[in-house]
């Protein structure tokens, strides 16, 4: 990895270690995330993705190593780190008993913003939740919950956003909606650290990919760089079959999603 000037680095992780009793979850993790980029931490269950995110979000203390977010140290400047980040955890962290709008107003108030009601209404519109605004979240579908969860994370325009497995348990349509939101976020200059175990999701979204395996980063680079780790591609002629995802989306008539997928492949 080439060294970047500090100003361009939003997240800097060095030699991060964490054990739960005898179980070593992180054994020296290093990576940098460039400002305004989407960085994917790819790994299977138990690889240490969530532990890394929890340390970066000041919810967990590392045993060794350092981590900085937005030029603040997570251990010694935790309050400044919290003012720089927004966390969307593995499970949609929404209040089931409140309505969607009340959830958004709550977060806007806690971030001490002016006119929480207007902020809430704007986000409800952007995430197609206006019709469900007054309904209790316990009546929402999984996809609606996730959208609300991500909308809550956008309040306050944090420069760094952590998305821990944002599409786990979502149907294909909802996944594509989440992907579009993440792309928009990065487009507006937000740094996104994404954890996922889905390879297609990583290909779709990430500017840079790190593979976390058994508590260490075993590969780190752009998609093109990672592809070079394998022997050079050989040319074979194979009939192009549509993927099941393309079929599914075409059959249910979701223009957005299907178009998004196709555009991406052409690009």
């Amino acid at each position: 990895m080439t060294a970047r000037p500090a100003a361009d680095v939003a997240i800097r992780v060095r030699g991060l270690e964490k054990s739960y009793g005898k179980l070593e979850v992180l054994r020296g993790v290093d990576f940098d995330v460039a400002r305004g980029s989407i960085f994917a931490l790819l790994g299977s269950n138990g690889a240490g993705k969530t532990t890394t995110v929890r340390i970066l979000a000041t919810l967990l203390k590392a045993d060794a190593g350092t981590a900085g977010v937005n030029d603040f140290d997570v251990a010694t400047q935790a309050a400044d780190v919290r003012a720089s980040i927004s966390l969307t955890g593995q499970f949609a962290a929404v209040d089931e008993i409140l309505s969607g709008r009340e959830n958004l107003v709550l977060v806007a108030k806690l971030r001490h913003l002016k006119d929480p009601g207007a902020i809430a209404d704007d986000l409800l519109r952007r995430f197609s939740l206006t019709d469900a605004a007054a309904r209790r979240v316990s009546a929402y579908s999984g996809g609606m919950r996730r959208r609300l969860d991500i909308a809550m994370s956008l309040i306050g325009n944090s420069p760094v956003i952590f998305l821990d497995e944002p599409t786990a348990g979502l149907d294909p349509e909802a996944r594509i909606e989440v992907w579009q939101t993440v792309k928009q976020l990065a487009g507006s200059g937000t740094t996104v650290l994404l954890t996922t175990q889905y390879l297609d999701e990583t290909e779709q979204l990430a500017d840079r990919i790190a593979i976390l395996h058994e508590g260490r980063i075993i590969a780190n680079g752009t998609l093109a760089e990672l592809k070079q780790l394998l022997p050079a591609a050989t040319v074979e002629y194979v009939e192009k079959q549509p993927t099941l995802e393309e079929v599914f989306l075409a059959v249910i008539g979701d223009k957005n999603g299907a178009a998004g997928t196709i555009t991406r492949e052409q690009g």
């Binding site: 929890r54 979000a57 000041t58 919810l59 967990l60 203390k61 309050a79 919290r82 003012a83 980040i85 927004s86 966390l87 955890g89 593995q90 499970f91 949609a92 962290a93 929404v94 209040d95 089931e96 008993i97 409140l98 009340e102 709550l106 977060v107 108030k109 806690l110 971030r111 001490h112 809550m152």
Partner: protein
């Protein structure tokens, strides 16, 4: 961040209070067991219990109020446990807010929810013939002791809510507390109990609290019982608070 402590706590308390007002069944469930006990003791067992007082409902109401609080705080633990498992606790803790406000919101909500349940139980007791000639000051003293008792038990509930592994576990700690009044002067005079039971009953916190409230309602001098009662409440409160803080620190790293 301390500049926002009161504002953040108020916003978060508003949230948890809505949990109470939108599930009034928790208030009804809290009040129904003490009310059922009150009906049983007054109309079934009460006639056979000689307490030396004119009305049995007057005698047993203080103990019933403590049982109400002991069952009410099970919901405090459950509400906190739900926040822990749903991920919303983590969301709040990762935000630039006064972090301890999340805990205080649950504590304040517990006081309000228990107060509502206590009022419901007292109204039913009045319908069943409970009467007291106590003045405003005596009622305020009763309210103060009940509030202190609720606060002490609430911090025990916070320990349970923070450290429970299952929702059932989060509520189970309340059962011994609910039964403690039966081994006290709440329903029968301790003088009728056999030696070791009597020794336990006379020296556990509930007896001094029950005796104090009963004397306040009956316009009798409260004697030393009130100091013993206050000492127990404050003692339990301080110890529970310290253990709750240990459990909290473990959770927030």
């Amino acid at each position: 961040m301390t500049t926002y402590f009161f504002g953040d706590t108020a916003v978060l308390t508003g949230r948890t209070l809505r949990h109470v007002t939108r599930s009034m069944d928790t208030i009804i469930t809290t009040a129904i067991t003490p009310i059922a006990m009150m009906l049983m003791f007054v109309y079934v067992f009460g006639g056979a219990i000689d307490t030396g007082s004119d009305k049995y409902v007057n005698y047993m109401l203080p103990g019933i109020l403590l049982i109400t609080i002991a069952s009410g705080i099970a919901y405090t633990a459950l509400r906190l446990f739900t926040d822990m498992t749903s991920g919303i606790f983590d969301r709040f803790q990762s935000m630039p807010i006064a972090r301890s406000g999340v805990l205080w919101a649950h504590v304040l909500t517990s006081l309000v929810a228990n107060l509502i349940s206590l009022v419901v139980v007292v109204v039913v007791a009045l319908l069943m013939g409970f009467r007291s000639g106590a003045g405003v000051l005596a009622w305020l003293a009763v309210a103060g002791i009940l509030l202190l008792f609720t606060l002490a038990l609430t911090w025990i509930a916070v320990i349970a809510g923070l450290s429970a592994k299952t929702a059932e576990g989060g509520g189970a700690f309340a059962y011994p507390l609910i039964f403690l009044p039966f081994l006290s002067s709440a329903f029968v005079p301790t003088a009728t109990m056999p030696g070791p039971v009597r020794a336990f009953a006379e020296n556990q916190p509930v007896t001094s609290i029950v005796n104090t409230i009963r004397d306040l309602f009956a316009q009798q001098p409260v004697g030393d019982d009130i100091w013993t009662a206050l000492a127990w409440c404050v003692g339990v409160l301080v110890v529970a608070y310290l253990f709750a803080m240990v459990a909290y620190r473990k959770k927030i790293a």
